[in-house]
């Protein structure tokens, strides 16, 4: 392992740091607005400067709708997806990147073309299919979808494995490793950064997916993302959306992804690609 390079305040680094700070301010500004506007009085117009600190809006966010039940549903879907898609996608991506076989390019084109498919094209036909085999309001769409892997992740793995020098593989082949063993003992350890990336992205995709659960599940089983989009925050029978509470709910909704990302990205960044490839 190489010692971590330390940061020195050279002029170049200072410029970069300044740039980072400016970009951060730009990227954070809308978030600031969200927080300010989640704390104002109900039904009040949007504001740029804080006009109140009604933290109870966050409590209302979890009580005006069955918030915790929806969150539990989100967790279930994410666990199913994480356990399946992260794994199979890697295997498939590896095969496409590293094993020559007839039909490989055609099949890979198929993988890519599934990414290009506007989701809405298959939405109604898929719904009919799921209905006929009794998958509506079950977790099977997520289990099967997970086992099938995700074209996006397959592509990512494939790109990643493609860029690894072939000398590594050849060395393993000379050792007499089987293909699976080569994959497990050489490529999987190297792929830690991409696995972390995929796991984090997979979690985010599933956590943030609105449409799929909306189509295939009934309201009681909606995850949070779908619930927040489809169920309005209203009170006292009013049809007007309480945007303050709605924004507050959005902020709570983001916390798990934020934490996951914050923890996950460290593995990606402080990962072992450099040393691994060197070895």
């Amino acid at each position: 392992m190489k010692a971590r390079a330390t940061w020195r305040s050279t002029p170049g680094n200072v410029v970069i740091y300044a740039l980072i700070l400016i970009c951060s301010a730009i990227f954070l500004f809308p978030m600031y607005l969200a927080i300010v506007n989640s704390l104002t009085a109900w039904y009040s117009p949007p504001t740029i400067v804080p006009t109140g600190f009604r933290w109870e809006n966050f409590a209302y966010a979890t009580t005006l709708i069955a918030f915790w039940r929806f969150m539990r549903n989100s967790v279930i879907l994410c666990l199913i997806s994480l356990a399946t898609a992260t794994f199979t996608s890697g295997l498939v991506g590896y095969a496409f990147a590293r094993i020559q076989a007839p039909g490989r390019n055609v099949l890979f084109m198929i993988v890519l073309s599934t990414m290009m498919l506007p989701g809405i094209v298959t939405q109604i036909p898929t719904y009919i299919l799921f209905y006929k085999i009794g998958f509506i309001d079950t977790y099977w769409p997520w289990i099967l979808g997970g086992i099938g892997g995700n074209a996006f992740f397959i592509f990512l793995y494939r790109q990643f494995f493609s860029a690894i020098p072939k000398e590594l593989e050849e060395a393993a082949r000379i050792d007499g490793c089987s293909i699976f063993r080569t994959y497990w003992s050489i490529f999987v350890p190297l792929s830690f950064p991409v696995v972390a990336t995929v796991a984090v992205m997979n979690f985010q995709n599933t956590w943030g997916d609105v449409i799929t659960p909306f189509m295939y599940l009934r309201q009681d089983h909606y995850p949070l993302a779908t619930a927040l989009s489809m169920i309005s925050y209203q009170a006292n029978g009013s049809k007007q959306i309480i945007s303050q509470v709605s924004i507050a709910a959005g902020i709570i909704f983001m916390i798990p992804v934020l934490v996951t990302f914050f923890l996950g990205q460290r593995y990606v960044v402080e990962g072992i690609v450099t040393t691994g490839v060197k070895g």
């Binding site: 009085a41 109900w42 039904y43 009040s44 117009p45 949007p46 279930i76 199913i80 356990a83 399946t84 794994f87 199979t88 295997l91 007839p102 039909g103 055609v106 099949l107 939405q123 109604i124 719904y127 009919i128 209905y131 006929k132 509506i136 309001d137 079950t138 977790y139 099977w140 289990i143 997970g146 086992i147 699976f180 497990w184 909306f214 189509m215 009934r218 309201q219 009681d220 089983h221 489809m230 169920i231 209203q234 009170a235 006292n236 029978g237 009013s238 049809k239 007007q240 959306i241 945007s243």
Partner: protein, 463 residues
């Protein structure tokens, strides 16, 4: 050939995979097992053999858990399941014949088009023989669920509204009127829409470049701009007609439509409310309730908002309702533009139980509960008694309402166009705010697009 070979090889591999447990196979099995458990956990409550589950898209805001519990206690053989759906999901459910047993729809915009497509069950006989429903007691607005294939309001009854309102009435905020030094108009005489717009201009207060208050909020959720519903109400009052008798052809190239568009484009350009030109993103309801808009176009039910809103409930006397405005020289109409209710799915497997629920929801205790809150007008004349009438605010509103009830109608919606009119209207009218088109071009464009949609819809159902 290569692809076929690929398929064959894959098929062989599946057999292979099943036979000898490889890494992949082992892992997928492990995954499937716990998932299987969650699958059975999934409450699909089948219950005992005799219990029937009635699924409805009436939302839980409109049908509380307590109400369901009461119903299920009275009818132990029926379980109620709420499955709120939007147009997207409902379409998919109808395609698979798995739509809810009791489908929530807008009486004005959806009912005729659903009836024409054969989705709604004819309820005439059940309603006529019902012990809970007296046909003569039904409010005229409830007739929006009657359709004989050509005229709405006539023929068999396919559904009932849960409530309705005179959706194009004007609500005023006295504080905003006072701020502009403008007296509140006489609530006994309806204004014309042009008078409303002139009033709105007077009520708009600017300080330099910033708007202190607007004159008019068109909708509680959006901008002060015209929409298809407003157009239909205006044309109805002006005595014009945009659909042919059989609804097969539409023509928007008539004077009332042009007058309406001209009037509104002028209002938008005068910035009497938040709109695309001034790009104020505050919603009309937020402005009105915080004294930043003097008038709001909405029906009786909006009184429920004013009664319960934190900003307004302490000074209800500052608010009130004015009658639905009319077209200049037009007749007085106070139509409903929604009358949300439900139909029974023609393909329901449990018509009797669905009806039991339907009857209870629309004519039983929930109907009384709804009327008492004042969040809309009941579908039965006899339940008008239950509306709130304690405060002087209620009394002002009820006085205007009594008058309005004499002019109840429903928007004349072409069943072949249904909701399609909204998008077409916006497409051709929005460019006018930016001087990118002319009114004549707009009405010709709307006519063209609407007729395409009508023809398509007719072809689709083989007419």
């Amino acid at each position: 050939m290569k692809q076929i070979a690929t398929l064959l090889v894959t098929a062989m591999l599946i057999v292979l995979m099943a036979a000898c447990g490889s890494d992949t196979n082992g892992a997928t099995n492990d995954e499937a097992a716990p998932a299987n458990n969650t699958e059975t956990d999934n409450p699909k409550r089948s219950g005992s053999a005799e219990t029937v589950t009635i699924r409805t898209s009436i939302s839980d805001g409109e049908l509380s858990k307590e109400q369901i519990a009461e119903f299920e206690a009275e009818h132990p053989n029926i379980k109620i399941e709420i499955d709120p759906v939007d147009a997207t999901k409902l379409a998919a459910q109808l395609a698979t014949n798995s739509a809810p047993d009791v489908i929530r729809i807008s009486g004005v915009f959806d009912a005729p088009s659903y009836i024409i497509r054969g989705i709604a069950m004819d309820l005439t006989e059940r309603i006529e023989t019902s012990a809970m429903i007296d046909l003569d007691d039904l409010a005229p607005a409830a007739n929006v669920f009657r359709f004989d294939g050509q005229t709405v309001g006539q023929g068999p009854i396919y559904g009932l509204p849960k409530d309705w309102s005179n959706d194009y009435a004007i609500w005023y905020n006295k504080r905003a009127f006072d701020a502009a030094g403008v007296p509140i108009p006489d609530p006994a005489v309806p204004l014309t829409w042009n008078e409303v717009m002139e009033l709105a201009k007077k009520l708009t207060i600017k300080e330099g470049d910033t708007v202190k208050q607007y004159g008019l909020a068109a909708t509680e959720w959006g901008r002060t701009e015209p929409n298809f519903n407003f157009l239909l109400q205006y044309v109805l009052s002006a005595g014009g007609s945009i659909s042919a008798e059989d609804n097969g052809v539409m023509d928007f190239n008539i004077q009332p439509v042009k007058d309406f568009i001209n009037m509104w484009v002028d209002a938008v350009k005068s910035h009497v409310g938040p709109n695309l030109l001034n790009n104020d993103q505050t919603s009309g309801g937020d402005l009105f309730l915080s004294d930043k808009a003097a008038m709001l176009i909405d029906g009786y039910w909006y009184g429920g908002v004013i009664r319960s809103n934190e900003n307004t409930k302490s000074h209800l006397d500052d608010f009130g309702m004015l009658p639905t405005p009319i077209a200049p020289g037009g007749t007085r109409v106070a139509p409903t533009g929604s009358a949300t209710g439900a139909i029974i799915n023609k393909n329901t497997k449990h018509p009797e139980e669905a009806w039991t629920f339907f009857e209870w929801y629309f004519a039983g205790k929930p109907a009384d509960d709804r009327a008492k809150t004042g969040w809309g007008l009941p579908a039965f004349k006899s339940k008008m008694e239950l509306l709130p009438k304690e405060t002087s605010f209620d009394q002002q509103v009820n006085a205007v309402l009594q008058d309005e009830m004499n002019y109840t109608q429903f928007l004349p919606v072409n069943p072949y166009l249904a909701n399609g009119g909204w998008g077409i209207f916006d497409k051709y009218v929005q460019p006018l705010y930016f001087d990118k088109s002319s009114v004549d071009e707009a009405v010709i464009g709307i006519t063209k697009d609407a007729n395409v949609a009508v023809t398509e819809a007719k072809n689709a159902i083989g007419q």
